[in-house]
Symmetry: C2
Subunit: 499 residues, 2 copies
């Protein structure tokens, strides 16, 4: 009986994922190949399928099936239990938001997104501010409906990073400030490495081929994925056997393509490594946004910005761009890609100043959600914070508070996962270094296969068998610990900047 | 009340189309960009969405709404009436096949398709024959359930070419035989034009650009469409503002790319010309496969294989391929692309022998569906017919009865629409020539815009306001008449072959 019920559960959940994967394809196409005429019809197609996915997931018969199975967990295998418990949790969360609220929120998001677009076009935050405040009010209501302990922001965090809360985040970000403030001061007092050569003229087709080589080198499987161009790079997938990345190619910025490629490649390796047979089930899914980001950051920073990596790959870069790179050595390339510099745009920030961008957003989000700060005052808060933390004077709001899409989509609680990802990356990479004795040497010889296998076995193949914290404990013996990032950056930048 | 009902009807029908358009994208991606790993998951995604589209369309509340509206047609506008009547007809047809039958048929199709793949791989028809017979039995049952007058084949024809029946087809194909048999005999007695130069080495990228130029020249709108590569060229769409074509490029066959491009371009012009606001409604849809094909054939043959067209475009071809075409003139190019030659493969046939390919399939289908012929004897029948009609000895079944996918998918009654399309094309093109005085001169000057406008106004923008026969009468004053094709080919080939 329970066996048959479980089969029915699997069927329905995989059906939900069939629809979600179709939505993902509609989105992928929209960002890559769709002619501009297709936009209006595409929105309605996505909206129809989204409603269907929601209908399937919240179907009363399905909910009661999950509830029954959740009451009989003992008769299920470990993996089956993971799938039931996780789905039960998601349903319980979804049930707290009734259809009227969800629809009101979705309309408000649509209006807020439109006003963000308009505000950016006119470089004027005030166009957007009132609409954003309305969305914030709904997010407060959402937090109240979901319920929380200590802080309403915890209810929002839970959506993206289950198990994380403000108390932990505050502690972590205090560590970040204590560590990065003096480190940055030291670094910025030194002469910056020259990275001007990254902005020479690099043929787009050759950049493309170079990027493909880098992805292949990482172990990205082109039989189960592909790369295309899009304005904003992203990773998407339709099951572990078809996981796609996109990149951007700027003729005058080699760095932009290289690290977006490796970053998305990291995300994609995680997805390609999930158990394909568990299609659509929690055991076939990533754990959290922070863990997902840990994989993109691990590959982007710990591998892709390491001296060992360029020890091997600089020759490859030179073979594609002999003219542009003939006067350089691997070390100059390595130094350039680790140049530290305060800059206003988060997505272009280096791996140290990046976390101030996140912290500022985190602080503002927390204040907005408690009502201590109104959106009217948020721009001044933003600009003041950039002055304080990074010494920057922001005058253009497109380079300031209007730069990110997240708030306009109601994604409050999302930004911290970027930093969490970086810190997990440092922690996991340290464990990999313990497990694989000559890891650095292997990378210097262009071989990341042992690293990939280790990640596959320890993380990717586990799906949601662990929570983020459980995974960290299983691999490293302790929960998220900022000290690994601290040690990694102190060592790397100490050497690079001769501190 | 009726107004509100009608709005509800439109919403549901457009929702069905949202799902169908999403399926079309899943298919498009499968044929163009999907990595091979995606195949298994893609099938299930398509199958889930197909079931949903069917569920929405056969929803009892929707059916009863359509029935109510169909009983109150007087209170609706002409366009609204078209939409209700057509949908009512489709529902009535669908209702004759219960869910159990549809599911049995779908399983049988899947098995038959698999055995067709296997038979082709082993070049052995007997592997496939018994499975095909099972599908034929289901098609007989389908015809019986649908109901028909005179001949069970009429029930199948109705799906693809509403209003067409065996009586008309027999009469038309008798005309084809009476006309084409002696014409072919005359032509084949003459020296064939040299088309060897079409198989010189043509750079793929340049072919691609040439094809894009030809599509632009026809008026295909790249802001509302795009071209990609696929093994078998096709046209697909997700609403009139996003209609895509694919083509194939063979380095050693310029003709293959050129006419597949123009053929699919013709299909696409029809779809791009449908009223975009009538998204998903019959008034925003093509009339029948025959009318659709009439547009691909009109552009492919009447425009694209005309002396006037190459009078202009041969210079363009030469500019792309100066080396390959420098020793030729426009007339030699024109003659080569109208070379008549009996050959075993339908999709590679010239515009005259093509109809024997169709006739042979039509004859066999009719005999199979009445049970006068069993699949066991179909191969011998096929080979005998190719000997009789085209003088060909077929020994390889992949060049014979296994060449087309259609039967394996249960698409009996489909082939005749290819010929019907050609004959409508001749009839419509004659009317266009009457309406546009110097049409040939315009084409010779590279200007097909007036032709396109005429087709847009008379055909494309009409959606399903007319049936195929009504459209023919509206435009040409008479129903489908083979004489136009006869006159067109007699004149063209008379001059070309000096008969």
């Amino acid at each position: 009986m329970t066996k048959a019920n479980y089969q029915g559960f699997v069927q329905q959940l995989q059906k939900v994922f069939d629809v979600q994967a179709s939505i993902a394809l509609l989105n992928w196409d929209q960002e890559t190949y769709m002619p501009k005429g297709g936009a209006a019809q595409r929105s309605r197609q996505i909206s129809t399928l989204s409603a269907y996915a929601h209908e399937l997931f919240t179907d009363p018969a399905f909910k009661s099936l999950v509830r029954t199975l959740n009451d009989n967990l003992d008769s299920l295998s470990t993996s089956e239990q993971v799938n039931i418990k996780e789905t039960y949790k998601q349903i319980a969360r979804a049930e707290k938001l009734d259809a009227a609220f969800v629809s009101k929120r979705s309309e408000c998001i649509s209006a807020t997104y439109q006003s963000w677009i308009k505000a950016r076009a006119e470089k004027n935050y005030s166009i957007y501010e009132q609409q954003l405040q309305q969305l914030i009010e709904l997010k407060k209501e959402e937090a109240d409906r979901i319920g929380y302990t200590d802080h309403p922001y915890n209810a929002l965090l839970e959506e993206f990073e289950p198990g994380m809360d403000c108390k932990q985040l505050d502690r972590i970000f205090q560590g970040v400030k204590d560590h990065l403030n003096p480190l940055l001061k030291q670094i910025l007092a030194k002469a910056a490495p020259d990275d001007g050569f990254m902005r020479r003229n690099y043929d787009k087709d050759k950049q493309w081929d170079f990027g493909i080589d880098l992805l292949k080198g990482m172990g990205y499987d082109f039989d189960r994925g592909r790369q295309d161009l899009s304005i904003h790079p992203f990773t998407t997938g339709f099951g572990a056997d078809d996981i796609r990345v996109t990149t951007r190619v700027n003729e005058h910025n080699l760095a932009s393509m290289v690290w977006s490629c490796i970053h998305e490649g990291g995300h994609a390796l995680y997805e390609q490594g999930l158990p394909s047979a568990d299609y659509g089930l929690p055991t076939g899914k990533y754990i959290s946004l922070g863990i997902h980001e840990s994989q993109s950051r691990l590959w982007e920073n710990h591998v892709g910005r390491s001296s060992a990596y360029w020890n091997h790959n600089f020759k490859l870069a030179q073979s594609y761009f002999p003219e542009q790179l003939h006067d350089l050595g691997a070390h100059e390339f390595y130094a350039a890609c680790n140049k530290i510099e305060a800059s206003p745009i988060r997505t272009e920030a280096d791996e140290l100043t990046y976390h101030f961008h996140v912290m500022i957003r985190y602080e503002i989000e927390k204040e907005l959600i408690t009502g201590n700060l109104s959106t009217k005052d948020a721009e001044a808060y933003w600009n003041e914070a950039y002055k304080t933390y990074l010494g920057l004077n922001i005058s253009d709001p497109n380079q300031g508070i209007l730069q990110d899409i997240h708030w306009s989509l109601g994604s409050l609680g999302y930004f911290p996962t970027y930093s969490i990802g970086s810190f997990y990356a440092a922690q996991f990479y340290a464990a990999a270094g313990q497990a694989i004795e000559d890891l650095e040497l292997q990378i210097a010889q262009g071989d990341t296969s042992q690293l990939l296998s280790w990640l596959q076995q320890r993380i990717y193949e586990q799906g949601m068998h662990y929570s983020a914290e459980e995974l960290a404990i299983a691999i490293t013996g302790e929960p998220l610990n900022y000290d690994y990032f601290k040690a990694y950056t102190a060592k790397k930048y100490g050497a690079l900047y001769d501190l």
